[in-house]
């Protein structure tokens, strides 16, 4: 059967059974549980080291009440990172290309930060809507602009992740198809295209890691403003 370029983004099913739950929980299998032993194998050592360092770096600018989010941020980062990286393999489905998943992650978390800000320190939270040092005639306009910017945040978070990954996957597919089609006809051009594909794959690996990090970083920034 012919593969269209968008079939890779369909939620996977097998004989009518949706496999999205499997696709979402499979990365969990790849991360070994930390043991009660003092010295572990290399995988567990590296994993513990990475999560410790990442959480420490991420929570540096947050004050003490923001540290409650440490587990959430660390697990979100590992989740997104693993989904993105596994999606680069051929014939895999990347759940983070689905806008529904990304909005489902972005909107509740962003809303949680806003509500925390409004409940614990409403004055400070509302004060973020007006940057310091604005000239007096500009204040009403600026409040409106800042409110719009506030409400765009969850959209931006979700769409950023979706768009980056979808675009990357599509590009890989397109250029791979180009190389595949050109291979019998113009081998040298196919080799050039393959080189482009190789560079693009490198870029996609970087994008996969960076997008996961940016998602979590922005959430921590929104939390920092409000906590």
């Amino acid at each position: 059967m012919m593969l269209s370029f968008f079939d890779q983004f369909l939620s996977p099913t097998f004989l009518g059974i949706p496999l999205i739950a499997l696709a979402l929980t499979l990365p969990w299998v790849l991360f070994p549980k930390p043991t009660t032993k003092w010295l572990n194998n290399r995988t567990v050592t590296l994993q513990s080291w990475f999560i410790n360092r990442f959480t420490q770096q991420l929570l540096l600018p947050l004050n003490l009440s923001g540290h409650k989010w440490a587990a959430l941020f660390a697990s979100l980062m590992v989740f997104l990172l693993s989904l993105n990286m596994l999606g680069l393999l051929p014939y895999t489905f990347t759940p983070t290309t689905q806008l529904s998943l990304n909005m489902g992650l972005a909107v509740p978390l962003w809303l949680a930060t806003v509500i925390i800000g409004m409940r614990t320190q409403p004055t400070v939270a509302l004060g973020h809507l007006l940057p310091e040092g604005t000239p007096t005639p500009l204040i009403p306009v600026l409040i409106i602009i800042e409110t719009i910017s506030l409400f765009i945040r969850p959209l931006a978070l979700g769409v950023r992740l979706t768009a980056n990954l979808t675009a990357g996957h599509l590009l890989i597919q397109l250029i791979a198809t180009a190389a595949f089609v050109l291979a019998p006809m113009m081998p040298t051009v196919a080799i050039l295209t393959a080189t482009v594909l190789f560079l693009l794959t490198l870029l996609e690996v970087a994008v996969a890691m960076i997008q996961a990090y940016v998602f979590v970083l922005l959430l921590s920034l929104y939390l920092q403003e409000n906590v």
């Binding site: 593969l3 032993k37 010295l39 194998n41 590296l46 051929p90």
Partner: protein, 247 residues
């Protein structure tokens, strides 16, 4: 320990305690058995070409020799390709490129990452070893110092002996001094008595002599005095004559 619980539960209400024993099993943190824990392997299982475990090669070696697994792999691959079970399409090219990236990454950064992970563990061990070494050096130092103190304590008895000797000498000296003082004082008193007696005798003597002289002088009558003077003169004359005669 579990057997004890079972025995106790057998005496109590049978059904309730049995179910309790089984239900609380999820809260156990240890295996409740005293058997020694098997040690973990230090390195992971050996693999060839990054993904195929060495055990497959060992399994096939007796029947098919060294090239057996490779033939199996090639055969499988060709079977899948020729029967179009695996179709070559654009995904294959994408798989080739991501495969190149992965292999390149593992070959280039693999040893460094492994060394880093090993270093993390080694640092942990080194820290604990440092604590142990520090404790051992401090303890051995304490032993050395204790031995020195014991030696000093032995020497202290010599010191005590010397001090005892000193004190004994002081006492002796003090005793001798006082003895000397006592004899001196006694001698002084005795000398005084002797001097007193001498004085007494001398005074008696003088007195007696004076009395005798006085009585003698008093007893000399003027007649006697003249007689004696005349006698003295006549003696003198006789003497002068005899001298003149000799000369």
């Amino acid at each position: 320990m579990l057997s004890r619980v079972v025995l106790v539960s057998a005496f109590l209400n049978h059904a309730l305690s049995l179910s309790l024993v089984q239900a609380s099993r999820s809260l156990h943190t240890t295996s409740q058995s005293l058997a020694p824990v098997p040690s973990l392997p230090e390195k992971g299982g050996k693999v060839r070409h990054g993904i195929f475990p060495e055990e497959i090669f060992q399994l096939l070696y007796p029947k098919t020799g060294v090239t057996g697994p490779y033939m199996l792999g090639t055969g499988l691959l060709l079977y899948m390709l020729s029967k179009e079970i695996y179709v070559i399409n654009h995904e294959t090219i994408a798989a080739l490129s991501i495969g190149t990236v992965i292999v390149y990454g593992v070959k280039k950064f693999g040893p460094d990452v492994a060394a880093f992970a090993d270093k993390l563990n080694q640092d942990k061990v080194a820290k604990a070893q440092e604590v142990k070494d520090l404790a051992m050096t401090s303890l051995s130092q304490a032993i050395e110092e204790e031995k020195k103190e014991q030696w000093r304590a032995e020497g202290r008895s010599l010191l005590f002996d010397a001090k005892k000797n000193n004190v004994a000498m002081l006492l002796e000296t003090n005793y001798r001094e006082r003895l000397h003082m006592v004899t001196h004082e006694v001698k002084r008193r005795l000398d005084y008595q002797v001097a007193l007696q001498d004085l007494n005798r001398r005074m008696e003597q003088e007195h007696m002599v004076n009395w005798v002289e006085k009585s003698v002088v008093g007893s000399i009558t003027p007649q006697q005095e003249k007689e004696s003077i005349a006698k003295c003169i006549s003696d003198l004359k006789a003497l002068a004559k005899s001298t003149q005669a000799m000369a």
